[in-house]
Amino acid sequence: MKRAQLITGLILVGAVIVAALISLAWTPFDPIRVVPGQRLQGPGWPHLLGTDGFGIDIFSRLLVGARTTLIVGIISVGIAAVIGVPLGMLAGQVGGWLDQLVMRVSDVVYAFPALLLAILLASVFGASTLTAMVAIGVASIPAFARVARAGTLQVVASDFVLAARGAGTSRWGIAVRHVAPNIAPVVGVQASVGFATAILAEAALSYLGLGTPRPTPTWGNMLRDAQQYLFVAPLQAVWPGLAIAVAVLGFNLLGDGLRDYLDPRLREVP
């Protein structure tokens, strides 16, 4: 059951990654070239999933969309992790007023929901993938900082860190050799969940018109564009919706699966 979650997650996430990789080398059709005569075709051959309102092959756009989606996830999670994890570790290891400062600042950032930040940033720098990624990334920093801090506190309180100090290991050495490897799993779980959040946030931003501008295909703006054909060609909206759901589900399952897999207490629930 626990394994099933992990494996399902791996398969779904793997599918998204494979789609993104394929799109780098090849797509069945040009994902941005408008073909006026072929609008809104149903699924079939050669357009596996049909064509959109511009006569573009939906399958090709989905493949490219997987890439955008992954990039959004990687960059925003990257920003959040690269800033959040060291901050959290620092707060946890040094403690005292630094800890208080980091945590209070992260509280304030937390009060800025990602979307609010994205709205603000998009209005300052214009709607683009970059601003969306930065906004989502910055807004997720507190989550990573918290997770890293909690993990660090736990590790630092453990006897093996005391033993390492007794063995003369420096603070830096403890951070690198003891804290980092031991919080890596929880950070990994958070990253996986962060990916799912980022994908959903990008979709929401696209819906509000603050995401990636056309013609670059993202699942979010495909979904948004599909709305107008809701009654004429409902499948238009099904494909990107499904893709988003699959990716989010995949990353969430992966995260949950990892968490359960790594937490022996939960593994032995009576």
Binding site: V34, P36, G55, G209, R214, P215, Q228, L230, F231
Partner: protein, 479 residues
């Protein structure tokens, strides 16, 4: 707002109209938004003359008018029955007071100020006669008087325009719930044919899809102008809906910045025009609804002729022209468009087709305010797409400072001559000016927006064409 369970007893006494953009304020003299006259013009404020659905000038507050032979003095005979909601008569003094008020208003918006400039003065002849003199003859100015410029406000009114009973029209403004709707109520003392409805609600729903959903769920009576023509099949059921199709004054213009080096070259402009299949664009972007136009005139303009075939789709010729202009190796242009459905979709189409002839288009989407400041005011763009919704607005091309920076002195002269021409020659001269624009590829005219009004099939009398910015309620009735 609307009701979920419509009361079975016909006819209805309220009407709910969906509109897209909400005006921030209800003061047309200090706000440019086209959404203000949509609600107020003809419904709340009346003008001396009015443009009907066919584009013809008709009497409203003025029963008749005469033009002096030098075409500089217009004398209007006011309808003696006309009176404001306050009960005061709409007399010559009120007309003069309105013109003078605007003339002395330092904050008057620029569009009105420009239109006002042609008026030399106004004077009371008797209680019901007023004479207006012009600085030079103009065909356009009487049309202007049928728009916001000509709205006659009760001179004695001193209240808040948001709850205004300051007009002479069949309705007055009852309430404006910001973010939601504006409610007009029947003016009981209206001097003409009484209003059909007790209350008319303009409900603002920005998202076209949400408008459709509200209509389909029975919450609306009218969609004032459908912004998602692809959804028309949803309203195919004749037992529930009626769709009225007509034209508007909105030319969707692919504006070219003539200050941009490549675009100052006629060959490039011709190439770009030939590279875009406008029929396919209209089919793809606006579901084939609307009219192909080849220049700055729409079918309801008296000087309209179909020029859409003038520079037909021919990618091979486009490539050749580009090569001749020295851009055989390619050309990169920035297209900055406001985030409105027709512009965004057209931009994607245009970018794709221009790519086929070797022109790289970088599309940027800006929200409208930003578009106004960066594209419209600062001219920081190569290409843009926007619908010019005002009536008879080809004169914009005569202004070299307008955001296209189209500096053709020849056109300016052609336009001036046409505007000052006598009635019998005006149309022919306008046609010359219009054709000049097309030949010079001053811009690329993608299409004219259609007027697509969806109503419950219980609603009747919707005018086919939107010849002014007004959503004219006076002809609408329920069956």
């Amino acid at each position: 707002s609307g009701s979920v369970v419509p009361s079975p007893t016909a006819p209805e006494h309220t009407l709910t109209v969906a509109a897209t953009l909400e005006p921030a304020a209800l003061d047309p003299w200090h706000n440019t938004a086209a959404s203000i006259p949509q609600v107020l013009l003809y419904n709340v404020y009346e003008t001396l003359v009015k443009v009907n659905s066919e584009g013809e000038l008709k009497p409203l507050l003025a029963q008749t008018w005469t033009v002096s032979t030098d075409r500089l003095t217009y004398t209007f005979v006011l309808n003696p029955a006309a009176k404001f909601a306050s009960g005061k008569p709409v007399d010559a003094a009120a007309v003069v007071a309105n013109i003078e008020r605007m003339k002395s208003d330092p904050k008057l918006i620029e569009t009105l100020r420009a239109q006002l400039a042609v008026i030399a003065g106004a004077k009371v002849i008797d209680e019901h006669q007023v004479a207006i003199t012009l600085t030079h003859p103009s065909v356009m100015w009487l049309y202007d008087m049928s728009s916001s410029l000509g709205m006659i406000l009760d001179p004695s009114f001193t209240g808040d325009l948001a709850n205004a009973t300051a007009g002479s029209g069949p309705y007055y403004v009852k309430a404006h719930d910001k973010g939601q709707d504006i409610v007009l109520a029947k003016s009981d003392s209206y001097w003409g044919t009484p209003a059909r409805y007790d209350d008319v609600t303009f409900r603002y729903i920005a998202d076209p899809n949400a408008q459709n959903a509200a209509m389909l769920s029975g919450d609306l009576d009218v969609i004032s102008n459908l912004q998602a023509p692809d959804s028309l099949p949803q309203f195919a059921d004749p037992s529930r809906f009626t769709v009225t199709k007509g034209t508007t004054n909105g030319e969707v213009v692919l504006g070219l910045n003539h200050k941009s080096k490549a675009l100052a070259n006629l060959k490039v402009r011709q190439a770009l025009t030939a590279a875009i299949d406008r029929r396919a664009l209209l089919d793809t972007v606006w579901n084939g609804e609307g009219t192909l136009i080849g220049s700055m005139a729409v079918p309801t303009d008296p000087w309209y002729e179909d020029l859409s075939g003038l520079n037909p789709y021919d990618p091979a010729k486009a490539k050749q022209l580009l090569a001749e202009a020295g851009y055989a190796k390619g050309l990169t242009l920035r297209m900055r468009v406001p985030v409105v459905p027709y512009a965004v979709k057209s931009a994607q189409f245009v970018a794709s087709q221009l790519r086929d002839v070797g022109v790289t288009v970088k599309v940027e989407e800006l929200d409208f305010t930003r578009w106004l400041s960066e594209v419209f005011t600062n001219g920081d763009y190569d290409m843009t797409i926007v619908a010019h919704v005002e009536a008879r607005d080809l004169g914009k091309f005569a202004n070299p400072n307008y955001y296209w920076h189209y500096g053709s002195a020849e056109f300016a002269e052609l336009y001036r001559q046409a505007d000052e021409a006598a009635d019998d020659q005006a149309v022919a001269k306008m046609k010359l000016a219009v054709r000049y624009l097309a030949d010079d590829c001053a811009a690329i005219w993608l299409f004219a927006l259609p007027n697509l009004v969806v109503t419950k099939n219980t609603v009747d009398g919707v005018p086919a064409n939107a010849t002014t910015l007004s959503f004219d309620l006076t002809t609408i009735a329920s069956r």
